[in-house]
Amino acid sequence: MRLALFIVTATLVVAGAADAATAPPPRADVLYNAGTAALDQGDVGPAVAFLTAAARLEPRARDIQINLKQATAAAARARGVESQDEIEVPGEVPLSTAEIAWAGAILLLVGAALGIASRVTRLPRTLAIAAVLAVAVGAAIHVWLLARAHAEAVHPEAVVVVPQLAVERGPDEPSRAPVVLGAGERVRLGPTRGGQVEIRVAGAAIGWAPHEGLWRVQETPRYTARYATP
């Protein structure tokens, strides 16, 4: 278990470093402007995708939050959800991944330093307990980040960008009625097979759909040129 976690961590760290070294990092303002332009044009699927990506970089930015809420609500209405109460905007942690990671790292660093000091010198008992708590919370934060990055790597988040996306059964699965997803719905993706990708909702695979109808949140910077502001 520990070895697997270590390997996954190392892979993610190396992959992250490699990405950072080869491609310019996406910027929140570019994604936000593309999302706002898509929202103006009534393309709620792309708008949700761009603004979700922008919120990953600037989770506390008020303008991004406002437009993401508008895009999610518009997408829900386009799917036929009329009641305001039924429109759910997914809640996110108001910190970016880097901020959470550094907070956890600082907690771990301070906790470890205090913990070591408490072992070699006399420190107040409350300080020693605080050190253990800081180490525990810091480790928990990084384990959670690791799990989240692993989930994103294995089942990346994606947004439906076409008005209706029929999620059909796989070729070796029994016949059943297709599930129809609407623009702006957020799902997770599984393996691809030909032009089809597995769609997952709430941790379970619900069928297969053409991947043209979906944008991965990670890959939204590729599409910003379509909604470039002059």
């Binding site: 103006d40 609500a73 386009a78 180490v135």
Partner: protein, 590 residues
């Protein structure tokens, strides 16, 4: 001795606490990674035989279906059934997602064969998934030894050459529940062309023939036959005892006839074609009426169904049609199942299309899909709802009525437009924030933490755990009584090895020798006379030779301690003897 040494350091609880906290967090993270749907909420298990009566050696198929809400569908392990040869053949999986509930089913099929006649009980067995349990029902397979001879068979040594049988998959059924009949012709002789079955008599049934006749070879007892089977599914249209059959089959059997003149036709045997007609037995089916308490939306569908309602668009312009399709899928008499009503909240033009039914006759049961489209044409902009569509049917496997209700589907109606491809700006709840002109933050969208933060975090954790482990090992070493005695003997040996003015006095050497003996043999000899001390040390394990030498050395040292200073020069031998004894003690302890 170890008295006064704390066995548990005062700092140990914090280390244990940290370790326990880290383990708990790892466990919590692992639990959080599990898919939420892995927790099965409902579990059902069903077992079904394709026929209840077979001949010795003839295969019967047992299908076991396990359905679990959630994904944790347990594996099927068929218990041993005495006298039956069981072979697993295939496994199929089903999936449904309805009203946010994910349901999965796994069907495993097994071929059962018996070598001796009798009634074989397939016991009910328990399926577990988490804390949920389900039991299959008990089944009985009747295995017959005798083959039909009267009417249905033509004679021959070792069993009939040709006979016909009718088997039913059930002899009790509900009204409109399918009963699958197999009309099988078994043959050990050659016949020309394909056997022709007359439509079997079955008054009171709606009849559906399941595909073309199937052929194959089958072993009945010790005899192998060519079998031609026609499957027919009967749906009772009235209650009471109804009869199926007899079925009649016509075949042209090729027989060799004796040659009257051995010289004619060069002695080749002659054949002639004989038209034969075989009949099966007639079997009865007891048809029970459907139970009372049918829902108001029930219109006679019996079987296993699934309703799907789709709308071709959720946003439409006024005076453009919205097509609502109701799709009924499943097993049963779909042709007799009525379509559910579809209605909307808006007074709009409504057009009901014709229903189309597609049937699949390739399996053991009639199944298919019935589709009907209803179009609504809204006149004014706004929105309207397609009201929940209800469909009720009777499920004979569960013996109860079931109703499936679709969600309300809201359709937005935009003003009539120019017909452009896009639907224009989205309907928004409020003002949209303006675009930005200043640059924003950059970073990775992959949710991977920055590697410097990872290095700081995991490096700090490793350093902390490393220091804790190192200090813990040191504490354990310090608390080890054996190591403590070794260290004490080493210190005594070092002090005795000093030379010159730093060398210990005879009195000090005597004291060190006592302490060395105490450390080596864990015996308290403080204050005892030399003789008593030597005796106690011998009791504690000191060899008699060493005890005598220790006593002698100690006595000489004590004498030297009280001798005049000028007489102490002769004490070098005693000091060497003391150092030698301490060295032996140390070696003995190691």
């Amino acid at each position: 001795m170890v008295k006064g040494v704390p066995w548990i350091s005062v700092r140990a609880p914090s280390f244990l606490l940290a370790l326990a906290a880290a383990l708990a967090l790892l466990a919590a993270a692992a639990l959080a990674l599990l898919p939420s749907s892995a927790r099965a909420e409902q579990l059902t298990a069903e077992a079904e035989l394709d026929r209840q009566q077979v001949l010795v050696g003839e295969p019967a198929t047992l299908a076991i279906t396990i359905t679990a809400e959630g994904l944790d569908v347990p594996a099927i392990k068929l218990p041993l059934i005495a006298g039956l040869d069981v072979t697993a053949t295939e496994q199929s999986q089903g999936f449904s997602w309805m009203n946010g509930v994910i349901s999965r089913s796994v069907t495993s099929t097994f071929v059962l064969r018996a070598s001796t006649p009798g009634d074989y009980v397939i016991p009910s067995f328990l399926i577990r998934s988490g804390k949920k349990e389900a039991k299959t029902q008990q089944l009985v397979l009747h295995v017959r030894a005798t083959m039909p001879r009267s009417g249905g068979g033509l004679g021959g040594g070792g069993g009939p050459e040709l006979f016909a049988r009718l088997t039913l998959d059930r002899t009790r059924a509900y009204w409109n529940e399918g009963v699958t009949a197999r009309f099988t012709l078994y043959s050990r002789v050659r016949y020309e062309g394909a056997p022709a079955w007359d439509p079997p008599d079955a008054p009171g049934f709606w009849t559906e023939v399941l595909g073309p006749a199937r052929t194959g070879r089958i072993r009945v007892g010790d005899v192998e036959y060519d079998a031609t089977e026609m499957r027919v599914e009967y749906f009772p249209t009235r209650t009471g005892r109804l009869r199926i059959g007899p079925g009649r089959v016509h075949a042209q059997v090729v027989r060799q006839v004796p040659v009257p003149d051995p010289w004619s036709a060069l002695g080749m045997p002659e054949t002639q074609v004989q038209d034969i007609e075989l009949t099966t037995e007639q079997l009865a089916v007891d048809v029970a009426p459907l139970p009372k308490g049918a829902p108001s939306t029930f219109r006679g569908a019996v079987g296993s169904y699934d309703l799907d309602v789709t709308v071709d668009r959720a946003v439409v312009r006024a005076r453009e049609p919205v097509n609502v399709a109701t799709v009924l899928k499943g097993e049963g008499n779909l042709a007799a199942a009525s379509d559910p009503d579809v209605s909307s909240t808006l007074p709009s033009r409504r057009y009901a299309g014709a229903a189309s039914t597609g049937l699949d006759r390739s399996g053991l049961r009639l199944k298919g899909e019935r589709r009907r489209e209803t179009s609504f044409v809204p006149e004014r902009p706004g929105s309207f709802a397609i009201l929940p569509v209800r469909f009720s049917w009777f499920d004979p496997e569960q013996g109860r009525y079931r109703t499936q209700v679709s969600d309300t589907i809201t359709v937005r109606v935009l003003p009539p437009g120019s017909g452009s491809d896009t639907l224009g700006p989205a309907a928004l709840l409020g003002p949209v924030a303006p675009r930005r002109s200043h640059p924003g933050a950059g970073g990775s969208l992959a949710l991977v933490p920055p590697w410097p933060a990872d290095v700081v975090a995991w490096g700090s954790l490793l350093a902390y755990l490393g220091v804790l482990a190192g200090l813990g090992a040191r504490d354990r070493s310090l608390r080890d009584p054996r190591r403590k005695r070794e260290r004490e003997l080493d210190a005594i040996a070092r002090e005795l090895a000093r030379a010159g003015s730093a060398a210990p006095t005879p009195a000090r050497t005597a004291l060190l020798l006592r302490r060395a003996a105490e450390a080596r043999y864990v015996a308290d000899i403080e204050g005892l006379p030399v003789g008593d001390a030597a005796a106690r040390l011998t009791t504690a394990g000191m060899p008699a030779e060493d005890a005598a030498r220790w006593k002698e050395t100690l006595e000489r040292l004590e004498q030297l301690a009280y001798a005049p200073p000028d007489a102490r020069g002769a004490g070098g031998t005693a000091l060497q003897a003391a150092a030698e004894l301490v060295r032996r003690f140390r070696e003995g302890l190691a």
